[in-house]
Symmetry: C2
Subunit: 332 residues, 2 copies
């Protein structure tokens, strides 16, 4: 397939989905050369990025994320939007067949020309994929998509990362605060800009509305966001479609307000600096861990500390000294 960044950039700019897929594969690749090609590609497309609304959608398995996106996506297409869906799903690592799986799950949506769905084809670590998703968003924007949706499963570390790359963070939940909640990671609720109770239809409708009211009250007990936005609590049914257009209206109203106040832009610029720092930190730690014999030393220190012996500060200092010696000797 096409590997020439100039050719790829041109085709992506024209909205060519095959070229976009190729670009995303380069972005996600764990091979060094591929990722360098991806960075070159991104540089060429940078002036075409930033024009979408970036939405993170999370919720535990079973909450109905796919059916929600299927319904939500169609609402957007009816409003004339072109949408891209990027999924970060650890389960796909296990099944290995998520590409077909996701497209089947979003059956009608995936067949629309205005829609591009990209499931995770994760060979490496989930964390690694999540970080690259930032670059994937930019490629989708260059390909002309107006809304980019990042889907995660709400059980791991990915959500914190996704929060740092989107404009709006949506948490899907089920009615009933019992067992269904067990899977959600603590801290995710406070990250949400809106909380949507799904499956608000039939016998479940009353319970969903009750849950919505409970969350609505709870949201008011929280410290407000810096941007002045009070997180919304809503209900919807992906089956009857009731409430789904309202979710989009909420996001649109958020985007309009934040664009006007300058918070949307300030948030994105802050995110850029955040990722720069994160990447730097990560590279530094990787270099440290790569020093000969370092991993063994760290494991040994952790073991002693976990047994209640050892001294965190002194142990860290010793390892740091070892690192600098290793690094300077490597050159000589």
């Amino acid at each position: 397939m096409e590997r020439n960044p100039d050719e790829l950039a041109m085709r992506i700019r024209q909205g060519d989905k095959v070229a976009l897929s190729r670009g995303l594969t380069l972005v996600e690749s764990t091979r060094k050369n591929d990722h360098e090609t991806a960075l070159t590609l991104l540089d060429k497309l940078r002036d075409q990025t930033g024009n979408s609304i970036r939405i993170g959608i999370t919720g535990v398995p079973g909450v109905g994320k796919s059916t929600f996106i299927e319904s939500f996506g169609q609402v957007l297409v009816e409003k004339g939007k072109k949408i891209a869906v990027l999924a970060i799903d650890p389960s796909s690592e296990k099944s290995g067949g998520s590409i077909l799986g996701d497209k089947t799950r979003m059956n009608k949506l995936s067949q629309l020309p205005e829609v591009y769905i990209r499931p995770t084809a994760s060979g490496g670590s989930l964390g690694g994929v999540a970080k690259r998703t930032r670059e994937s968003i930019l490629l989708c924007e260059a390909a002309g998509f107006d809304v980019v949706i990042i889907e995660t499963v709400g059980v791991g570390q990915s959500e914190t990362m996704v929060k740092e790359m989107v404009d709006f963070f949506l948490l899907l939940m089920l009615a009933g605060a019992g067992d269904e909640l067990q899977g959600i990671k603590r801290g995710i609720m406070e990250m949400a800009d809106a909380l949507v109770i799904t499956k608000a239809d039939g016998d479940n409708e009353a319970a969903a509305k009750r849950a919505r009211n409970e969350y609505k009250n709870a949201m008011h007990l929280f410290p407000p966001n810096e941007n002045g936005w009070i997180p919304k609590a809503m209900t919807c049914s992906s089956y009857t479609n009731i409430g789904v257009p309202e979710v989009w209206e909420t996001i649109e109203s958020f985007a309009n307000k934040m664009t006007l106040s300058g918070f949307l832009d300030a948030n994105r610029r802050g995110q850029e600096v955040y990722w720069f720092k994160e990447t730097l930190k990560e590279m530094l730690i990787a270099n440290f861990m790569d020093a000969k014999g370092m991993k063994e030393r760290i494991l040994a220190a952790e073991k002693i500390l976990f047994e209640g012996k050892g001294n965190a500060f002194a142990d860290a200092k010793e390892l740091m000294q070892f690192y600098i010696t290793q690094l300077t000797n490597a050159k000589n």
Copy 2:
């Protein structure tokens, strides 16, 4: 004053408050020699540590932290406990007179022989002081205190750090979810093991109870803690003392449950490893930032990124290369 670690260790073990103060000053010192003496001292006392209940107490200025601790502390002393209070308060950096200030605030408590109060005498950064507080807790334990209270103001980064060094985290709040909440940092509520509405007396009592019920309902909407503990919502008055003994009963019940289930110990061991990793990361970053010309380069990269130009990944890679070259050249 005494600087010999053997002598100091002996006197701290005997519960000598003057020696303890001297030890804490060494722990908090930004001078390298002092901190090394402190580490030697800690090593000598390590077998005497770990026997207290470590409690973090936070809440915005005005919530009544000092009067709560004044009242709470006396309840503990009546139960035969020896208590140490360590305060991390950024305001003391400004006033410069927090030592007298804090002792005056906790007037009765500070005069009891079973009590030791140590306000922040922060010369350096607040973050630096907060990190050292971990070591301060150990010194207080070696001096025989049964309960160690860490007081913070709930508006900065310190709370996350304090959460990682205590067994129980208490959030004080005022009735009314309006303006009073503005100051609390997002994310702190989810860290709390108990939430206490203060000033539940006189005209305010009904409002406090209403608020307690609201928070109680909200707490149930949250994902549960890994240790199975459901955060409590309570009211108290430091003026009438009503509700204050119940706060201690809650903490004692928590400590008993967690000791039995093994979570208290597991949590502490996890905290040790956490601090080892944090310290290592911090040293690594400090070494990186100390490379000649690095600070200027980072500021320049951040400026470009903030303007929407630049490439976070490529910029980070370049700086990393620069660091390694600097480090290896320094030796040659």
